[in-house]
């Protein structure tokens, strides 16, 4: 126990001898939480539309005006034909083309139905889909408007049926995030990202640095047990992670008014278990690396996988089965889910206990491996 205390003291001294580290611990979370939440949004506004109006009738004008008035769209141009509009899309001047056929008004009045064509840039598939859904909504609104105005022109039999159309009122209610604010969803994710980067990269460089500097040989000739050595390496990152968490929790409350409904204690407990698992991963990488360059590539490799397959940016539930299997052993996924539940759903520590157990199991395996893979013989 006494040895451990001294070892921990050594680690802290080593860590703070590099002036970048204390600055990093304070400034990095501050910068990330101050700037990046504003960048995340899938809500699309300002879709630029070109309307190709072959009909040039009252109805087509009304539809065009309705699109232009919508908060989602900006009427960019009304080119004479589709090819001209397509050229605009190629030049990245417009995102969407609405083509109204020449017979639009005649069809509406005579046949009581009509159609329009929508072409949308779908390099970003989700955006393309959302954009065309918005157009469809506007077109549907327009057609029920017409139904109201033109009921009188219908034959009596149909008119009665239209009047008798039954109405199911579908009322969506967005629980936990009624304003559909993407920032609130992403901020718990940013906290996990910060912990992963700081408590993953630093330990990954730690032992390999001692190898490159030759100081590891001095440790290896002492009677310090492998267990104590690794523990002494791990514990300082707990401290680092807790400082990062306290800064993050405070900032996200002050700037975004976000406070964990499940309690700060629950958030900190989950963070502690998580830090243990990523730091363990870092130490394993450090043990297996010969140079700091190798360690840094490897740790970035794993961090990218943890983050991009961890449900922070894209949902785990839409991944193929094999990727979901990876997510099942991904600590990032468990903590992100737990933080989001604690922050947004108001879940309690008991509600996230499954996630914590999984994190604990991962931490035990990784740190066992870390102790095992540290060889005292050079």
């Amino acid at each position: 126990m006494k040895t451990l205390k001294f070892l921990i003291e050594k680690e802290f001294k080593q860590m703070f001898r590099n002036p970048l580290i204390p600055r990093l611990i304070v400034l990095f979370p501050t910068m990330v939480l101050l700037v990046f939440p504003w960048a995340v949004s899938f809500e699309i506004k300002n879709i630029r539309v070109d309307v190709v109006d072959h009909s040039k009738s009252v109805y087509s004008k009304r539809l065009t005006d309705k699109i232009a008035a919508s908060q989602y769209f900006i009427l960019h141009d009304t080119p004479p034909d589709y090819n001209a509009a397509m050229l605009n899309m190629e030049n990245d001047e417009t995102d969407m083309i609405l083509e109204i056929p020449a017979s639009f008004d005649v069809d509406l009045v005579k046949r009581r139905e009509s159609g329009v064509g929508v072409a949308v840039n779908s390099v970003n598939g989700t955006q393309g889909l959302l954009g065309s859904n918005y157009v469809m909504q506007i077109v549907n609104d327009f057609s029920s408007e017409l139904r109201g105005e033109l009921t009188q022109t219908l034959p009596p039999q149909t008119r009665v049926s239209v009047m008798r159309l039954k109405k199911m009122n579908i009322v969506p209610q967005y629980k936990y995030n009624p304003a559909l604010d993407y920032k609130k969803f992403m901020i718990p994710g940013f906290m996990v990202l910060l912990l992963t980067i700081l408590c993953g990269i630093l330990p990954a460089l730690n032992i390999v640095m001692e190898k490159e500097n030759g100081t590891i040989n001095q440790i290896n000739v002492t009677p310090i047990s492998k267990m104590n050595f690794i523990l002494a390496k791990l514990i300082p990152y707990w401290a680092v992670g807790l400082v990062v968490m306290i800064i993050s929790i405070t900032l996200s409350f002050l700037i975004y008014g976000l406070w964990p409904g499940g309690g700060v204690v629950a958030v900190l407990i989950s963070a502690i278990v998580f830090i243990l698992s990523v730091s363990g991963l870092g130490i394993i990488i450090s043990n297996y690396s010969e140079t700091m360059q190798q360690a840094s590539f490897l740790v970035m490799f794993f961090i990218l996988i943890l983050v991009l397959l961890g449900g922070m940016f894209t949902p785990v539930s839409s991944m193929p089965a094999w990727a979901q299997a990876i997510a099942a052993i991904n600590p990032f996924n468990y903590l992100t889910t737990a933080f989001r539940m604690l922050y947004l759903n108001g879940s309690s520590l008991a509600d996230v206990s499954g996630n914590l157990l999984a994190l604990g199991a991962i931490a035990v395996v990784l740190n066992g491996w870390a102790v095992f893979s540290y060889k005292k013989r050079g």
Binding site: S114, K166, M168, M292, F313
Partner: protein, 368 residues
């Protein structure tokens, strides 16, 4: 020139002899492109849904049945109480609940109106709203079938065409992003760490004693890295084309040119970092943080730049990957040529010159 070539050869040997590092540098992009290319997508699937139906009737069971059969939904049956529903939503076991009012059918037939509420777990706003939209569409479809009209008058059909990505594959959007991210990380860490390492170990001093100018020497060092990074790019491109089925619609030559330009830029960034720090740890931390977070957040790789507020759009303009990703999407997916791509290429070239300028200035200062 002869000296220069000899120096480049020496650096090549250094790298090739370090088998492990080489394996990591060449293997990392392969694994990541495959993992992310297949797994990362924004589609909303497997929506876990439950129904709360106090008085089941033909209409409510009909709607529930439609939802159960829909492939986007994972039907979890019906809940008996609202409390039960609330609890499983709070535990994160449920994404959406369809709540019918009492005596739904009776209300609908007699008063012509009935309420159905969709409680959508919107902690993820994207998922929450799309899940509600899907459900609304299903109920509206069911409603249309209940009318005695052959056709509701004054309907306007919309015929949708998805340009450039008709199958709406997420990989079309993500592959250029992954290219930008992986190259940025590898190139920056590779150059910055290896040069700072020589500084840290003092071998730089030995090199400085050689008759080669320091500037020339540093550029000789980056040439092997350029070759390796280009091989990485080709590997990613081949995997994207043959395994992920992402098309190369534009000129391959132009794509290679853009890649070489971007690699030069990211290597120059690594050089710049190496002039700013003097410890390997700091080089790694600095490169890792500046190469990863801005690319993930501001490059348009995941979150479209057009959606960001003005200040952040301006900030994103200094992220090299933003321009690279844009131009790769244009050339690869949209099949556009130089007439459109020149703007991004110009920005990338300008950034490269700027960073090289800083590096040369900083290096000269050290010689004095």
């Amino acid at each position: 020139m002869k000296q220069f070539i000899a120096f480049v050869k020496k650096e090549f040997r250094h790298i090739i002899r370090d088998n492990r590092t080489l394996l990591i540098i060449l293997g990392m992009p392969v694994v990541e492109v495959l993992l992310f290319g297949f797994a990362v997508n924004m589609e909303v699937q497997n929506i876990r849904v439950a129904v709360y139906d106090p008085t089941p009737d033909a209409f409510t069971t009909g709607i529930a049945e439609r939802i159960r059969q829909n492939s986007y939904f994972n039907y979890r049956g019906s809940v008996q109480t609202m409390d039960e529903m609330e609890e499983s939503m709070r535990k994160g076991e449920l994404d959406l609940a369809v709540v019918f009012q009492q005596n739904f059918q009776e209300e609908l037939v007699h008063s012509g109106e009935a309420d159905v509420q969709l409680l959508s777990n919107s902690s993820d706003p994207n998922r929450g709203s799309i899940a509600a939209t899907y459900t609304t569409a299903i109920i509206a479809g069911f409603q249309r079938e209940q009318t005695d009209l052959i056709q509701i008058p004054f309907q306007i059909q919309t015929e949708n065409r998805m340009i450039y990505n008709p199958l709406m594959k997420s990989s079309y959007m993500f592959v250029p992003g992954i290219m930008g991210l992986v190259l940025m990380i590898i190139c920056t860490i590779m150059t910055s760490v290896s040069i700072v390492r020589e500084k840290e170990r003092g071998t730089m001093e030995v090199l400085l004693a050689s008759p080669l100018k320091q500037g020339t020497m540093i550029f000789a060092k980056t040439i092997p890295y350029m070759v390796i990074s280009f091989i990485d790019f080709v590997i990613i491109l081949l995997l994207s084309y043959f395994v992920l089925d992402v098309p190369v619609n534009g000129s391959l030559l132009l794509l290679f040119f853009v890649a070489i330009l971007y690699i030069t830029l990211t290597l120059s960034y690594g050089l710049t970092v190496s002039t700013l720090v003097d410890k390997q740890v700091n080089a790694v931390i600095f490169s890792a943080i500046t190469a990863m977070i801005p690319v993930l957040m501001l490059s348009g790789m995941i979150f479209p730049v057009d959606n960001m507020p003005g200040t952040l759009q301006a900030l994103s303009a200094i992220v090299p990957a933003r321009w690279f990703i844009e131009v790769v999407r244009k050339v690869m997916i949209q099949g556009l040529g130089m007439t459109i791509a020149w703007k991004e290429i110009l920005v990338l070239a300008g950034m490269t010159l700027f960073l090289l300028g800083i590096t040369i200035m900083k290096t000269k200062k050290r010689l004095e």
